[in-house]
């Protein structure tokens, strides 16, 4: 009877465990955002805060475009295209910063209520704040990957950090996919 031998030091083995670890982290993080979504519907029901609709659509579009460029960067790296990878990563990073400015710098200033103004204020600032914090960490991750990419640390064969960064960035996009309608679109406006 032949027993299969697993080389626990091989890149292939490590890649498998790294992927599992990242997805478990994402799953646990998703519960935090899931809890916020449940709180939003429990506390606010079929109402929503008065927010700038155009700005909401614009920041959503910015995050969507950033996801496209992140995918483009990862695909390019997987095929050994260093130039497109660096361009895509940098564009994603810049769009992430623009998104942060749009939400924290503009929307928070325009909102006609504060975090202490009832359930609407508390939920809006908690949800957008928690999401913005993740965008900020994603931007830092992108900057690290971009710098390492410029040093030529990634190849088509070995680029786990790029894959991890892309997966995390897309997760941030998935969270906003649910937060955008929950905050901007569903329910009747109050306040």
């Amino acid at each position: 009877m032949a027993a299969s031998v697993v080389d626990r030091t091989s890149y292939k083995y490590k890649l498998g465990t790294n992927r599992l670890g990242l997805w478990l982290f994402i799953l646990s993080d998703a519960f935090v955002f899931g809890g916020l979504l449940v709180s939003r519907f429990y506390l606010m029901g079929n109402t929503r805060p008065h927010l700038e609709q155009t700005l909401g659509l614009v920041v959503t579009a910015i995050l969507l475009v950033s996801s496209f460029f992140m995918n483009r960067a990862e695909t390019a790296m997987a095929h050994g295209d260093q130039k497109t990878f660096l361009q895509g990563t940098l564009i994603t990073l810049v769009l992430g910063v623009v998104f942060l400015v749009g939400v924290v710098g503009v929307e928070w200033q325009l909102a006609p209520f504060g975090p202490g103004d009832g359930a609407h204020g508390a939920m809006f600032y908690m949800m957008t704040g928690m999401h913005a914090f993740h965008v900020l960490t994603g931007v830092i991750f992108l900057w690290i990957v971009y710098r390492n990419g410029r040093k030529g640390l990634y190849t088509a064969e070995k680029h786990w950090a790029v894959e991890a960064c892309a997966t995390y960035w897309h997760f941030i996009d998935v969270v906003w996919i649910f937060f955008y309608p929950a905050l901007y679109l569903i329910g009747t406006v109050v306040g």
Binding site: S67, N71, T75, A156, H170, P181
Partner: protein, 68 residues
């Protein structure tokens, strides 16, 4: 290799177009008839599925062949 890359990049564009159309769709649904929350939830789930399946490559987690 070059053909495979072009094909993969093209697929990324297709997914992006689908996501953009769905986003505009949900905005229109909300503006046109604010009470259709179930349609908005459906669109959000569809968009999330597109991103998780094609941008986050969830199947890679279960398929050892897709290694780099």
């Amino acid at each position: 290799m070059e053909d495979k890359k072009k094909q993969a990049l093209k697929f990324g564009v297709t997914v992006f177009i689908m996501l953009a159309v769905l986003t505009l769709g949900e905005y229109w649904v909300a503006i046109a008839g604010g009470q259709w929350w179930y349609i908005l939830v459906g669109i959000a789930l569809l968009k999330a599925w597109f991103v998780i399946q094609h941008y986050m490559h969830l199947p890679r987690l279960f398929n050892e062949e897709e290694n780099h």
